[in-house]
C-alpha cells in the first residue's frame, strides 16, 4: 500500500497492565475513596481497555445537600477544572516511577462532551437532583485536508469517558473506556486510489494489544475497517467464551461464514465433502478469511461445527471450532490474496455451464479467468478495498450521482448489445427517486398520494428492501409521462434544488423515447448492510475474500436480469424441491437446501449448481457480474 503526502496522527497508549497494576491507586487519586476491601465500591476492568468505578453507597445515599451545579454548563466547566487537577495529581503520584507518566490521564484536548444531564431521585423524595452525568467521546484531529485546508477530525470508536458526580460533589461513577494516551506521532496516510486528496471517512480504533490509537478507513459498510497507516492494526474482536452456545437451528445470517482465526486446540481433519464414506482424507488447513458453509452442529453444547467449503479445486467437509467462525468477510491476513483466488476459482467452477452462451458475457468470463491466475499481496488487497470503497461510494444524499456512478461501473464490464447501434444501457433507466424524496416536501407528498398512489401504472414501488422493474405498456408510457410532468412540478416545491430535481431537469421526451425498462429501487435497499444476505427474495452474498460490492449494486444486477431478455438471459434457477424458478433465491430456499445437506450430505446437492447457489446465498450469474465489477475497480482497469 503506498503512502501519501498527508500526515496523520497515531497515538501510543499505556498498556492495560498499567491500569491493572495501579487500579486501587488510580481510583483513590480520582475519587478520594480507597476501593480496597470496600464493600460499597465496585471496580472492574473493561474488555476494550480501561476500567469502571461505581460507588454503590453514594448512589443509594439519601443525603441531598442541594445541587453543587447550577446548570449543565456549570457542571461541565467544573468537571473540566476537576479533571485538570486530577491530571496534575496523577502525574505527581507517578512521576517517580520507572515509566515516567508526564502526560494527562484525562486527555482533555480530545474529550468532547456529547451529553450532560442531571439524574433525579425517586418520586417519593420529590423531583430532586441526585447526581449529574457527563459523557465524553474522544475526537482526534486526524489530518489537514489539502482540498478544504481544514483540519479533519475522527472519533475513536467504542471509546469514551463517563463521569457521574453526586449532588454532594463526589465521584460516584467513572467509566474510563480508554487507555492513558502517552505520546502522539505523525505518520503518512495510505494513499487512496489515484487521488490522494479524496479521503474516505476515518475512524480511530483503540488496540490494547498494540497499545495504540490508530486511524482506519471506513469501508462501504460501517462494520469494515481498513488500516490507514502502517501502524494501524485491527484489534482482535472480543469473544465471551464463558457463555458458549452453539445454535443448531437454521440462521440465515450464519450459513455463509468465514474462518476468523485458526484454532490450535483441535487438529483440523478434512474429508472430501462429496464422499459418502466416513474415511477422512489427508489433513489440510485453510487460512483465515476462507469462506465456509456452516452446517448443523451435533448439539448446542458441541464446540465444533461441521462445515463445507471449497478449497483448491474441490469441496471438503471439516469440523471447525465455533469460536473460530466469524460472520463477516472483513478478515485480512497475509493469505488474503489466496482466499480471494480460491473464491474466484470456486465461482469459475460454478459458472462453467454459462460459457459460450453470449458474446458479451464471454468477456466477463475471460476477465474472471485472467484474474484467477493472480494471487494478490496483502497490500494489493488493501489497495483494492480502498479503491472499491471510494469508487463505489453510496451517497444516500445524492442518489442520482450514486446511481450514475454504479451504472457506469456495471455497464463498463457487461453491457449486452440490443441492436447494431445500441446497448442495453441505452434503453434502461434506473430511477433515482424515492419515497423519502417525495416526503421531503409537502407538495411532493401530496402529489405522490394523489397521483402515484392512485395510478395503476405508478403505484408505490418504493416499499421493501429490493427493487422492481416495469417494461410493458401502458405502464411504461404512463411512468414516462409522469416523470416529465414531475420535472415541471418540482420547480414549485422546496425540493427544486435537490439532486433528484436536477436529475429530472435532464429528462426529455426524446431522451425517454429509447427507454424500454424503468427500474425502481426501494427506500430500504439504500440502507442494506454489506453483511445482509438477502434483499427480499434476492440472495446478495456475492463476496470474494474480503471484497464485496455495495448491496444496492447486487440488487440492480438482479433487477436488470429479471426485467429483460438480454441481460444474463441464460440465468435461471431451481426450487429446493426440484421445480423451476427464475433467479430469485429467498431464505426459505437456503433453509430447505441446508436441511437437505444436513440430512443427506453435500453430495445430494452438489451436481445441481442452483442448489449450491441456495447454500452459498448467491446466484452464480449475479456473482460473476459482481466479480467483474470488483476486478475492474480493485485492479483499477
Amino acid at each position: 500500500m503506498q503512502e501519501s503526502n498527508i500526515q496523520t496522527i497515531v497515538i501510543t497508549t499505556q498498556p492495560q497492565s498499567f491500569i491493572e497494576s495501579n487500579l486501587e491507586q488510580l481510583c483513590y487519586l480520582i475519587t478520594g475513596v480507597n476501593p480496597l476491601n470496600n464493600k460499597n465500591i465496585s471496580v472492574s476492568l473493561l474488555d476494550n481497555g480501561g476500567f469502571q468505578f461505581i460507588n454503590i453507597d453514594e448512589q443509594n445515599s439519601n443525603k441531598y445537600l442541594g445541587s453543587a451545579f447550577k446548570n449543565k454548563e456549570d457542571f461541565l466547566t467544573k468537571i473540566n477544572d476537576f479533571l485538570g487537577k486530577k491530571n496534575e495529581a496523577i502525574t505527581r503520584a507517578f512521576s517517580n516511577q520507572k515509566n515516567d507518566f508526564s502526560f494527562p490521564f484525562f486527555p482533555r484536548q480530545y474529550m468532547k462532551p456529547i451529553a450532560a444531564f442531571p439524574n433525579f431521585a425517586n418520586e417519593k423524595f420529590g423531583r430532586m437532583i441526585k447526581s449529574w452525568t457527563a459523557i465524553y467521546k474522544l475526537e482526534i484531529s486526524a489530518y489537514d485536508n489539502p482540498t478544504t485546508r481544514r483540519s479533519e477530525s475522527a472519533n475513536v470508536a467504542n471509546a469514551g469517558i463517563e463521569i457521574t458526580v453526586s449532588s454532594g460533589g463526589h465521584i460516584i461513577g467513572l467509566k474510563y473506556n480508554l487507555l492513558p494516551l502517552e505520546s502522539r506521532k505523525g505518520l503518512p496516510l495510505y494513499k487512496v486510489v489515484a487521488d490522494e486528496n479524496e479521503i474516505p471517512q476515518l475512524t480511530y480504533l483503540l488496540n490494547k494489544e498494540t497499545n495504540s490509537v490508530a486511524p482506519f478507513y471506513l469501508a462501504t459498510t460501517e462494520e469494515s475497517y481498513i488500516p490507514a497507516t502502517r501502524e494501524s492494526i485491527l484489534p482482535t474482536p472480543i469473544t465471551n467464551e464463558a457463555t458458549f452456545f452453539n445454535p443448531t437451528d437454521f440462521d440465515k445470517g450464519r450459513i455463509v461464514v468465514w474462518l476468523k482465526r485458526v484454532g490450535v486446540k483441535k487438529k483440523l481433519k478434512v474429508k472430501d465433502a462429496a464422499s459418502t464414506s466416513k474415511k477422512q482424507s489427508d489433513t489440510i488447513t485453510i487460512p483465515i478469511g476462507a469462506k465456509i458453509i456452516r452446517l448443523k452442529p451435533n448439539s448446542e453444547n458441541d464446540e465444533t461445527t461441521p462445515c463445507v467449503y471449497w478449497w483448491k479445486g474441490s469441496y471438503h467437509l471439516s469440523s471447525f471450532s465455533e469460536l473460530n467462525i466469524g460472520i463477516n468477510n472483513v478478515v485480512l491476513s497475509n493469505f488474503a490474496g489466496q482466499v480471494i483466488q480460491n473464491d474466484v476459482e470456486h465461482l469459475l467452477s460454478r459458472i462453467s455451464s454459462y460459457e459460450n452462451k453470449q458474446t458479451e458475457y464471454e468477456a466477463v468470463v475471460k476477465s474472471i479467468k485472467d484474474f484467477s491466475k493472480k494471487v494478490l499481496s496483502k497490500n494489493q488487497v488493501q489497495d483494492g478495498l480502498v479503491a472499491i470503497a471510494t469508487s463505489l461510494k453510496i451517497n444516500v444524499g445524492d442518489k442520482p450521482a450514486t446511481i450514475l456512478s454504479l451504472k457506469n461501473s456495471l455497464f463498463k464490464v457487461y453491457n449486452p448489445s440490443v441492436s447494431s447501434t445500441a446497448h442495453f444501457s441505452d434503453e434502461t433507466l434506473i430511477l433515482p427517486l424515492s419515497f423519502g424524496w417525495f416526503k421531503s416536501d409537502k407538495k411532493l407528498l401530496e402529489r405522490f398520494n394523489s397521483v402515484w398512489l392512485k395510478s395503476v401504472s405508478l403505484g408505490n414501488r418504493f416499499e421493501g428492501s429490493s427493487g422492481e422493474g416495469v417494461r410493458y405498456e401502458p405502464m411504461l408510457s404512463d411512468i414516462k409521462t409522469e416523470l416529465l410532468q414531475l420535472k415541471d412540478f418540482v420547480d414549485q416545491t422546496s425540493a427544486k434544488n435537490s439532486p433528484e430535481a436536477k436529475w429530472l431537469q435532464t429528462l426529455s421526451s426524446t431522451s425517454l423515447n429509447d427507454i424500454k425498462r424503468i427500474i425502481f429501487l426501494c427506500d430500504n435497499t439504500w440502507k442494506l448492510s454489506g453483511f445482509d444476505r438477502y434483499a427480499d427474495y434476492i440472495a446478495i452474498e456475492n463476496s470474494f475474500g474480503a471484497f464485496r460490492l455495495p448491496p444496492i449494486l447486487n440488487v440492480i444486477i438482479h433487477e436488470l436480469t429479471v426485467n429483460s431478455d438480454t441481460f444474463l438471459p441464460f440465468a435461471s434457477g431451481s426450487t429446493p424441491e426440484g421445480g423451476t424458478t427464475d433467479t430469485h433465491i429467498g431464505y426459505e430456499f437456503t433453509q430447505d437446501t441446508w436441511e437437505k445437506v444436513n440430512s443427506s450430505g453435500f453430495s445430494s446437492i452438489q451436481k445441481n449448481q442452483d442448489f449450491v447457489d441456495h447454500l452459498y446465498q448467491s446466484h452464480r450469474a449475479y456473482a460473476s457480474i459482481a466479480l467483474a465489477v470488483i476486478i475492474s475497480k480493485a485492479m483499477n482497469l
Binding site: 403505484g459 421493501g464 428492501s465 410493458y472 405502464m475 423451476t580 424458478t581
Partner: protein, 152 residues
Amino acid sequence: MKTHSIIAIAYILISCSVFRNERSISTYHSPSQNGKDTVQLLDTLVLDFFNKNYVTNYFSVKTESNELIFKQTIFNSTLDTLELQAKASAGWVAPKFSRTVLPKSCSVIIYSYLVTNHKGYVNTTITLEYKNLSNIEVNNNYIPIILRGWIE
C-alpha cells in the same frame, strides 16, 4: 381411454373459465404452517400463441402471514410440447413452475409474494415466456401476467 376422458372434461371446464373476459380470483386458506399459505387462485391461463397478456381483476387480501401465494393453472392448448420460463419483475416476488407442459395438458405456476413491507396497493408483472420445443425456429412468445390489488 379413461385418462383421455378426464383431460377432455378438464379442457372443457378450463375453456369455459378462460374465455370469459373477467380474470377472477378466489381465495382459500390452506392449513397454515409458520404463518404462511394464504393462497389466491387465479383464472386459468391458456397458452395458444394468441393470448398476449393476462391482467387480474383487483384483488383484496387480508393476511397476517409473511407470504402470499397466487396459484394459476396453465393450459397448453397447442399440439406441441412447450418450454416455459417465468421472471418476476419485483425482488419480492418469485415464481415456481414446471419447465415443460405437454400438448393439451395443464401445469401449475405459483407466484410467492413476500408480504412483509409490501402491504397496500401492489401491481407487479411476471413475464411468462414459452417456446415450442419441437420447432426452435418459431420465435419465443411472451405473456406479461399483471397481478394487481390490495394487500391488507
